[in-house]
């Protein structure tokens, strides 16, 4: 479109609190954390161990994923249970690149084929593995494959006016079908075991703390970027139409807008963000397998968003950190309690906190103001 309006729009997101918050987060994640990790002596109480850096990196990927979920659910009203799948597809794309990077360093020492293919007695690389030798191609696919799947699936579903729980159910079926498919050895994605034993990414050994720190910082940058993109969308007129579609879809039609394309835009963009998050996630955890497609994962993403406060971008990010932080802590401290807590969280948030933590905070603030 016309360039001046675009720059004007970007500058118009001039809410000072927003930029201050962004800057604060940037300093915390991109300066303070690396300093605590690198500059502090290992025996210092302030030292941040390497595993913590990777853990934070994982959370950042989850937060990006939550942001993507919020875009479709919080703003378009589409509760997608396919976001775990988009995330996993992005992860597989990056995993395939790292698989190819292993080269002849695998157990079988075969430079042309990944180990699992040698094991399955395959003779040559399947066509859909072509191109994954190149990073740019893998990165492109991490965005394009989830995006294309979401576009086609969404086009079919939204055009037929499948909404609400029906849409949730069929996205869940899609996720489930993909999981079954990736479990098959014949698919050529490593079957049950998935892709693992990665050595390095773009020449940086994955086992090195410096690589981990780099990936973590990249995740933080990507989250910030995703936040700005999402904010640009939701503050645009399109964002307001999304909310209108969420609240009264049929009314939007009579205004001349097509909810199909509005939702399709949100769904596709969101799937691409989810794929991006997955692509960053896999090098940090070192494995991607079909269980990432499990329908339970997709539902869990919804609860991150709900806990933080759906329909607010900050809420989604906050929720991802809060729930996953609790998960890490509790699965270590009292593993049998975790599912109880997660289950209770689902119920409590839907019953008592429809606006999530952010809504709760807003309430408290309002009360304080009223008292003051």
């Amino acid at each position: 479109m016309n360039a001046p309006s675009l720059s004007a729009r970007l500058l118009a997101a001039d809410d000072r609190r927003l930029w201050l918050g962004m800057a604060g987060c940037a300093i915390a994640f991109l300066v303070v954390v690396p300093m605590l990790n690198l500059a502090m002596p290992p025996d210092s109480a302030l030292h941040m161990p390497n595993y913590m850096v990777t853990l934070l990196g994982k959370y950042l990927c989850y937060a990006t994923l939550a942001l993507a979920m919020d875009l479709v659910w919080g703003y378009c009203g589409v509760l997608s249970l396919g976001h775990g799948a988009f995330f996993a597809l992005g992860g597989y794309a990056m995993g395939m690149f790292m698989m190819r990077s292993i080269g002849a360093r695998g157990v079988y020492g075969n430079a042309d084929l990944p180990d699992f293919m040698v094991f399955l007695n395959w003779k040559e690389l399947p066509w859909y593995w072509m191109g994954f030798d190149h990073f740019w191609f893998a990165a492109l696919m991490a965005l394009a494959v989830p995006g294309a799947l979401a576009f086609v699936f969404g086009w079919l579903a939204f055009r037929s006016r499948i909404t609400g729980v029906y849409l949730s159910i069929i996205t869940q079926a899609m996720t489930y079908a993909l999981m079954l498919a990736f479990f098959r050895n014949e698919m050529g994605f490593g079957g049950n075991n998935g892709l693992t034993d990665f050595k390095d990414i773009l020449g940086f050994p994955l086992a090195e703390p410096s690589t981990k720190l780099g990936l973590y910082m990249l995740s933080a940058l990507v989250l910030g970027l995703a936040f700005l993109v999402a904010r640009f969308v939701v503050t645009s007129k399109l964002g307001r139409i999304m909310m209108a579609v969420r609240d009264a879809e049929s009314r939007v039609r009579f205004l001349g807008y097509s909810p199909t394309w509005v939702k399709l835009f949100g769904f596709t963009l969101s799937a691409m963000l989810a794929g991006l998050a997955g692509a960053l996630y896999v090098p940090q955890v070192g494995i991607i397998n079909p269980s990432e497609f499990s329908p339970a994962n997709s539902i869990e993403i919804a609860i991150w968003v709900a806990v933080g406060g759906r329909g607010t971008l900050v809420g989604a990010v906050l929720g991802a950190f809060a729930v996953n932080g609790a998960k890490t802590w509790l699965t270590g401290a009292a593993p049998e309690l975790w599912l109880f807590l997660l289950g209770a969280l689902f119920i409590a948030v839907t019953l008592g906190l429809p606006k999530g933590l952010l809504g709760l905070w807003g309430q408290i603030r309002r009360k304080e103001k009223a008292h003051a």
Binding site: M1, N2, S5, L6, A8, R9, V233, S236, K237, L238, R240, I241, M243, A244, D247, A248, S250, R251, V252, R253, F254, L255, G256, Y257, S258, P259, T260, W261, V262, L264, F265
Partner: protein
């Protein structure tokens, strides 16, 4: 690419095209049934460009179903629905029809409750409806003035930043009329526009509708129960009963019609 969707295809009508000549809206033999109940029964209606028409009828006469058929919400079982002499509305969906230039105000006011008054009007504003176009949309000063003017006209100038959900029933009615104005449509369908309004508000609405009809660039169909309001509009009246037209003419001739009296007053 996404915007292609909004280029409305003009199909040759499958019915006879000649009788539709010179009309903005042409309904012929339109029938709709729900589970055996005939909501519309061979309804025929012709509206001339620039015409203001009021439609009355008892509950269940098919007034709202007729609007549903015209705006694409309901597909008729049979019959022709033509806009502007030649566009077959039965083949288009709601948004395509809206983009042709047909606007609608619902019986129950439906505004976007989580958006502000200003934003509601901004969404209605006549502009490119494509997804990417709206993503990159930037309100020009001129457009802002248009919205401000409309807010003044519907008496909500001081409520610009209020959420639409917080408005009173009558204010929502006005907001919806305002949204219709923003769309700048050629054919306006108003379903019970003064329901729930005070007398003075009703009067103002009648004035507004007469203003709209005056310059002849728009055609209006107003469905209303309030006979005072119908009288104030002073337009041609169509009486619907059991899904088809019972009588048509001025309010005086209608009120003298024995069939109409029977339907309204009972046997």
């Amino acid at each position: 690419m996404l915007d292609d969707k909004f280029e409305v295809q003009v199909d040759e009508p499958h019915g006879p095209g000649v009788p539709a000549a010179g009309s903005i809206l042409y309904l012929d033999g339109v029938s709709v049934s729900f589970d055996g109940f005939k909501a519309l029964n061979a309804l025929s209606l012709i509206l001339a460009p620039g015409e203001l028409r009021t439609i009355v009828g008892p509950n269940g006469a098919g007034k709202t179903t007729m609007m549903d058929v015209i705006t694409g919400k309901t597909r008729p079982d049979e019959g022709d629905v033509l806009f502007d002499e030649k566009v077959d509305l039965t083949r288009l969906d709601e948004s395509e029809i809206a983009n042709l230039g047909i606007g609608r105000k619902f019986q129950k006011p439906t505004v976007f409750e989580h958006l502000s008054v200003f934003e509601n009007l901004e969404l209605a504003l006549k502009a490119d409806r494509g997804a990417f176009a709206t993503l990159m949309f930037w309100l020009s000063g001129e457009q802002r003035d248009t919205i401000d003017a409309t807010m003044a006209r519907i008496g909500l100038a001081d409520k610009s930043r209020h959420l639409a959900g917080a408005l009173s029933h009558g204010q929502k009615q006005w907001l919806e009329i305002g949204m219709l104005l923003m769309q700048d449509q050629r054919l306006l369908l108003l379903d019970e526009p003064v329901a729930g309004m005070t007398d003075s508000e009703t009067e103002a609405t009648a004035q507004l509708i007469l203003d709209l009809a005056r310059d002849g660039s728009r055609s209006l169909v107003v469905v209303e129960h309030d006979m005072e309001f119908v009288r104030a509009l002073g337009a041609k009246v169509t009486v619907l009963h059991e899904g088809s037209v019972l009588a048509e003419g001025t309010l005086e001739t209608i009120q003298a019609d024995s069939k109409v009296i029977e339907v309204y007053l009972g046997r």
